[in-house]
Structure formats: C-alpha cells, structure tokens
C-alpha cells in the first residue's frame, strides 16, 4: 500500500452545548478518540449500529460538521491548517453520496441542473458543462433524458445513480459513501455496488464505505473499522475481522448476518 490518503487522529466530536447560565448542559459524545488511516485506492468500511457515530465521522471528513478535538489529515495536511485555496481544492477532491437519495436532491430542481452546479462553478461554458453532465449521467447507466427530470420522477435506484454522477463530476479522489444502498431493494443494491466497483477501477477512487451491517461490507471493503458507542472497537483487514474477530461487538455484528442456514460463511 502507498502512503495514506486520509489520516484520522484522536478524532472527537461532542454535540450540544456546555452548561451555562441559560442552558442546562446537554452534551452528547458522538465520536470518542477515533483514529484510523485510509490508503489510496482502497475501500475502507466503517460499520456500526445506528447511533454509533459512523455517519458523524463521514460528515466530519466532508467538513460538513466541525470536529471538537483531534485531527483529520488529507494527504498529510491538517484540516485545521487549510488555506482558502487548499480548502477549495479539497472540496472538489472529496465527495459524498448520501443514504436517502430521495431527500439528497432538491425536489424543485431538475436532476441535470443539480449535477451541473458543482461544475458550473469551475467552467463558465454552459454547453461544455451540459456535455459533461450528459456524459456522466450515461456513465452511471441513466439515459440522458433523466437530466431534465425532477427527483420524484426517478426511482430510488435511478436517483442513487444520479447521486453518484453528481459526486463524480468533479473527479474526486475520495468518496464517502454514507450507507449508499441501505435504502434500496436487493436487486438494485447489487447493481449500485457493481457500478461503484467499476467506477473505482476506472477512476482509481478511494472509498470510505459507511454501513450498519457486515454482509455487504465483507464483499466490498478491503479494511473494516467496527464502531460502537462512538469508539472504534476493532480495525483490520476484512479477512481478519471475519475470521478472527476479537471484540464481542464484532462477534455480535457477525452473528447478526442472515445466511441461508449458517453453512455459507463469507470467504474472502
């Protein structure tokens, strides 16, 4: 493996406000002292039950939420030390795909215009942008008429594809996948996963895959972090986690995978 693309060191997030004269303190420790590294080209899975802080980590990596303590380093540069320029560059290099494609698009704007606006900031030529949007829409397996549709006119799977097109249009290096398929039904799920795999090869992408169950992660990820109550309980390669789980939480998660009769163990 090459040098780490993203390093997370002692990351902590506390939601809520400190106690003061007017407010009773109501602080929640969402993420507690979390550290991991993500290497270039790999798929790093973060698994945990709902409320374990995995989505918060994704949001912090995206800079949608500020972290309370610790550091996140992108290519060795601390988030807190970003200049205006490097922050701008960073924003186009790290993108996110949301869980609920239904609410991730503005209901009153066409899909195409929503895919286009990150690019319109960089390129003023509208024709060129339109061509690029069509190219990406077709690449994720949608027909180009979809660009003129509104989000509610697309199915969940189509919307998620459009979400992928929107995330890819700025040619990112790192993609945060926040439970990208958990809202989809099974057949669509595997289509989207296949699409994500193909795109990873094509564009040499690095994925951070956030999920709440282990079965999909086992198939998709190179390394896995298991989270529980804001802490990382176990980090390791997929094989390690599956074959020699140390932490009881990992074992619990593994035992919750539904298989046909228990004989079909996931092999790597």
């Amino acid at each position: 493996m090459t040098e780490p693309l993203l390093e997370v060191k002692n990351l902590t997030k506390i939601y809520g406000q400190k106690k003061n004269l007017l407010r009773s303190g109501n602080q929640v420790l969402a993420v507690n002292n979390v550290s991991f590294t993500v290497n270039k080209g790999e798929t790093f899975g973060i698994v945990g039950e709902s409320g374990s802080g995995k989505t918060t980590i994704g949001r912090m990596i995206m800079q949608l939420v500020n972290h309370t303590n610790g550091d996140i380093l992108y290519k060795g540069q601390k988030y807190s030390e970003f200049t205006k320029e490097s922050a701008e560059r960073f924003k186009s290099k790290v993108q996110i795909i949301f869980q609920d494609s239904g609410s991730a698009f503005n209901p009153r704007k066409t899909i195409g215009s929503q895919i286009a606006y990150p690019l319109l900031k960089k390129i003023k030529d509208r024709k060129a942008v339109l061509d690029e949007v069509i190219k990406f829409i077709e690449m994720v397996g949608l027909s180009k008429e979809m660009a003129y549709r509104y989000p509610h006119e697309l199915s969940g799977g189509q919307r998620q594809r459009a979400g992928i097109a929107r995330a890819l249009i700025l040619k990112p290096e790192l993609l945060v996948l926040d439970e990208p398929v958990s809202a989809l039904d099974v057949s669509v799920k595997s289509q989207i996963i296949n699409l994500l795999e193909n795109l990873q090869k094509k564009y040499n992408l690095t994925y951070i895959f956030i999920a709440h169950n282990l079965d999909l992660v086992a198939y998709f990820c190179d390394r896995i972090a298991v989270m529980y109550h804001g802490e990382i309980k176990e980090v390791g390669s997929t094989k390690q986690i599956y074959q020699f789980p140390h932490n009881p939480i990992t074992k619990k998660l593994l035992s919750s995978i539904l298989t046909l009769d228990g004989r079909y163990k996931v092999s790597n």
Partner: protein, 283 residues
C-alpha cells in the same frame, strides 16, 4: 435543463385549471377597469348628480346599481374604487412578502441571527394587528401611502413566521447538506435551494392576505386614517353604507362588499394555481 421548464407549460396549466382561469380573469378585469375608469364610469364618482336621486334603487333612473346616501352613482364609484382597492390589496402584501422571505430564510438558516429576528417578530406579534396598524397609521398620518406602509409592517411578522417555519423544516433535509458538500455558498443555499421550496406556501398565504388587506384598509379608512373621503374606495363605500343599511337600503353596502369578496376569492384562486404551478410533483 437550466431554465425552468414549468414556465413553458404556463398556458397548459391555465386552461386545465378552470378555477384559476376564472380567478385570473376577474383580476384582469379589475385591473383593466382600474386603468380605464374614466372611460367606463357613466358619472363623476365624487359628484352628486341630483339631490332627487339619493339612495336610488338599482336599475332605476339611469343608475344601474343605484346611488348612495349622497346621490352619487354606485357603479361609477365601484369602477373608480377598483383603483385604490387593487393597489392596496397587492402592493403592501407583495412588499411585506419580499421582506418576509428574506428575513424568514435568513432566520431559519442561521440560528444566531434567527433568534434575534424572531424575537423582534414576537414583539410585533404581541400587538393585535389592527391595533398596530391603527397606531402606525396614526403616527404617519392619513393617506393611502401611509396606510399601505402600516399594512406592510403589520403583515411582516405573520409572513416571516410562515417562511421561517418552512425554512427550519427544509433545513433538516439532506439536500441542504448535499448542496453545501457540493460547493454551494451560504447565499446560494438560502436563495437557490431554500427559496423555491419555501415560496409556494408563502404565495398561498400572501394571496389570502390580499383579500384581508382590502378589508383592513377599509376599516382604517372608516376610522379616518386611511383613504380620505370623498375618494372612491370599496372598503370606504361599504363602511359608509352601513348607516343606511338599517333603513332598508342594503345596496349601498352590498355592491362594494360583493366586489371585495369576489376580488378576495379571485386572489386566493390565483394563489392556489401558482402553488400548483411551482410544484413539480403536480402534473
């Protein structure tokens, strides 16, 4: 893709929605009447034609809708009255709507500024709106312009509250987060992402307020703060007619009252139609 395709379907929507067509037709007729009032009115609205024709019944002696207690032709006064009525119905509501949408979106977007804005609104809320309008109009002095200004101030807290509530609700949705992840600035999120989503309910509310505003301004005119007599105004006419109402001459009040009612209903039809037009899920 960049232009709003829905506006191209404008005509199609209008034909399909009969209620909206009626509403828009009524508003258009009122506007045309207001513009061409001198050509349409059979008499001078402010001049009593003849002392003998006071309180004439409708369809008598050349006065189609009769005359009021001062012998003025009601039809002519209705035609001239459409001028102040349509102005006082639309302009204050539109101005306070524009101010409210900015205040409401900013308040919903930023918690810090939002707390400040909404507390000011709460102070304005504490006064009954008519009382507040009376106070403002009394301070500014009588006249159509001052009354409209008073209405603007009085309506802002209500409309801001509508926008604010909607904005707070929309802020919870993921597309706002997505927009900021994909490089939208705060300004763009407020006025390109949130605005199209909070505008429809404000439009519906604003159009119902238009009808109410005509009546409120009539009330202010009645206590001498609004439009000054003898200027023809529907609200003023309805109020003046109440003196002779009990004497058995309901027409003096009836016709301007009907005119206000019809205009108010037309505005609310327009509002419903605009809301549907702006909603891409409605076909």
């Amino acid at each position: 893709m960049y232009t709003n395709i829905r506006w191209r379907k404008f005509g199609k929507y209008l034909v399909k929605d009969k209620m909206a067509s009626i509403g828009i037709a009524i508003i258009m007729v009122t506007i045309i009447t207001a513009i061409f009032a001198p050509l349409l009115a059979p008499y001078n609205p402010n001049e009593a034609s003849d002392t003998a024709t006071r309180l004439a019944m409708p369809f008598t002696s050349g006065h189609i809708l009769g005359t009021d207690s001062q012998g003025r032709d009601i039809l002519s006064r209705l035609i001239y009255g459409s001028r102040t009525s349509i102005l006082s119905a639309t302009i204050p509501v539109i101005i306070s709507g524009v101010i409210s949408i900015i205040l409401g979106i900013v308040a919903g977007f930023s918690k810090k500024i939002g707390g400040f804005i909404m507390r000011i609104m709460d102070v304005l809320f504490a006064f009954p709106s008519v009382l507040l309008a009376v106070v403002i109009a009394a301070i500014l002095g009588p006249g159509l312009f001052n009354v409209c200004l008073a209405m603007v101030i009085v309506r802002i807290p209500y409309m801001t509250r509508v926008v604010y509530t909607d904005t707070v609700q929309e802020m919870q949705k993921e597309y706002i987060e997505a927009a900021s992840a994909f490089g939208r600035t705060k300004f763009e999120i407020m006025f390109k992402e949130l605005l199209p989503n909070v505008l429809p309910s404000l439009i519906v509310y604003a159009t119902t307020l238009m009808g109410v505003t005509v009546v409120t301004i009539a009330g202010l005119s009645f206590i001498g703060l609004g439009i000054q007599p003898p200027t023809a105004d529907w609200g003023l006419m309805a109020s003046n007619g109440k003196n002779v109402l009990v004497q058995g001459d309901p027409y003096v009040t009836l016709f301007p009252g009907l005119a206000i009612l019809i205009l108010a209903v037309a505005f609310s039809m327009l509002g419903d139609w605009l809301r549907d037009l702006l909603d891409p899920t409605k076909k």
